[in-house]
């Protein structure tokens, strides 16, 4: 259902990605990992259609959701509006339900800067799931959260993935995150002509993920 077929990607004259091919089935969750700066975020941006300057083809569904590393909210709109503005076809009632699914039901009229970072992250998660995405993309969604909040966010993400069954691709540097959420791990490695897939499957070892270290 999701097909990534990148032949190459360069920023100016600097090659960043070499040939990268993989697919993600509906209901499958894939972790993407590799050293910092290798091009993981770039793969996600290409898959999401944010970056269209590359050689190759992408097959993706209509309903895409992206959880950015930063919450990326509209600071000048209320919490509820942050759900409804990107999804104008939702009713306010559905907006409230999306907030409820991440425990923010009593914050609807707040502004984002009145929320803690963990709450902002949850809002960004609620925004991603508000319209049952067919493809869910997450870029290091749990970094710079304390262990407890990260755990809570992961539990929430698991729950939402089970409920909505999207094809999911997320970037992580954390072995436990990958083991817990992913059915499959893709490891990128440096090649002179840009990053390529070193391993793809469930046999990527814990040591290999740990080897890439935090980004």
């Amino acid at each position: 259902m999701i097909e990534v077929n990148i032949e190459s990607k360069a920023f100016g004259s600097t090659p960043v990605l070499g040939p990268i091919r993989f697919g993600v089935r509906a209901g499958e969750t894939v972790a993407l990992t590799g050293p910092s700066g290798i091009g993981k975020s770039t793969v996600l941006r290409i898959l999401a259609g944010i970056d269209e300057q590359f050689e190759g083809t992408i097959t993706r569904p209509d309903e895409v959701a992206f959880v950015f590393q930063e919450p990326t909210l509209l600071p000048w709109r209320s919490v509820l509006k942050n759900i409804l503005v990107p999804h104008p076809r939702l009713t306010p009632q559905q907006g409230h339900e999306a907030l409820k699914s991440v425990g923010l039901e009593d914050k609807a009229e707040f502004f984002p800067n009145q929320l803690s970072l963990g709450q902002q992250r949850r809002l960004s998660l609620a925004r991603a799931f508000a319209r049952t995405p067919e493809l869910l993309i997450m870029d290091e969604p749990f970094v710079s959260l304390d262990a407890e909040t990260a755990d809570e966010m992961m539990r929430l993400t698991e729950k939402l993935i089970v409920a909505h069954q999207p094809a999911a691709l997320f970037v992580t540097h954390d072995r436990r995150e990958a083991e817990r959420l992913a059915d499959r791990v893709i490891l990128l490695e440096h090649k002179p002509t840009g990053a390529e897939i070193a391993r793809d499957g469930n046999e990527v070892t814990a040591a290999e993920i740990d080897g890439v270290g935090p980004g």
Binding site: R45, A48, G49, I50, V64, A65, F66, F68, E70, T72, L74, P75, W76, R77, K81, V85, P86, H87, P88, F111, N113, Q114, R127
Partner: protein, 249 residues
């Protein structure tokens, strides 16, 4: 604190007394009337309706030029700030227009278009567009690329993007451009009227300049200054505050 508040008042009172002293010394109401001599003249002009009709003519021109300059300047600034290629092409034009004296543009507009209302408004607009564009371009360059990506992923339609993503980020820049815009535009409008219109405050000033009637020049000038100060306090400053409200919520 108390003293700091009094300073501007004392300073203005000083200016007023300087005027009085100068008026007493010249002792010629033709050259410099005393401040209180303007009162009856003001009442006379206001009573006859002259003052209001000319004030209205000028305000309408200010509004037209302001609206056009803000719209065109914002569009231009937004495009130039978002597209480095367009910016590379248009930036030299901007520099030329920024350095063109207002008077030259006014005279050229009158020569090419004729002594018409359209020429007057175009001249004022062209004078202001480059300044607005420069301010808005700064704002457009500071737009958050992550929010752009977000808007793109969720396929937000153009209008909604403008309204919810772009405009709130540009609002402080638009407010700044509007404030400096009004300040410049109303001064240029007077020059335009002085040179080629038969109504408006600038025209009246021209008339009384030819009659060497300093008192009437002052009456018309002060009336207009008062109106523009009211606009500043009642419209522009509240708008500027409202663009910042979410920050302090």
């Amino acid at each position: 604190m108390q003293a700091a508040r009094l300073t501007p008042l004392l300073s203005l009172a000083g200016l007023l007394s300087l005027w009085v002293v100068a008026a007493v010394l010249t002792d010629d109401a033709q050259i410099l009337p005393k401040p209180w001599q303007l009162g009856p003249l003001f009442l006379q002009e206001a009573g006859s309706g002259e003052l209001w009709s000319h004030l209205l003519a000028t305000i309408i021109r200010v509004l037209w030029a302001f609206g056009l300059a803000m719209t065109l300047g914002t569009l231009l600034g937004l495009i130039m700030g978002r597209s480095p290629r367009t910016n590379a092409w248009l930036d030299p034009w901007l520099v030329v227009f920024l350095n063109l004296p207002a008077l030259v543009l006014i005279v050229l507009c009158y020569l090419w278009i004729g002594l018409t209302e359209a020429a007057a408004i175009i001249a004022v607009t062209l004078n202001k567009v480059p300044n607005v564009a420069v301010v808005i371009r700064e704002g457009a360059r500071a737009l958050d690329p992550d929010l752009d990506a977000m808007a793109q992923v969720y396929k937000m339609p153009w209008l909604s993007r403008m309204r919810h993503v772009i405009f709130p980020q540009l609002a402080p820049f638009i407010a700044a451009a509007a404030r400096s815009g009004v300040a410049v535009i109303w001064k240029i409008v007077l020059v335009v009227e002085f040179l080629g219109r038969s109504s408006g405050i600038g025209f009246q000033i021209h008339l009384y300049f030819q009659l060497f009637d300093v008192a009437m020049v002052l009456v018309y000038a002060f009336s207009f200054i008062c109106v523009m100060l009211l606009v500043e306090w009642l419209l522009l400053q509240p708008f500027e505050r409202s663009t910042r409200r979410w920050r302090t919520a």
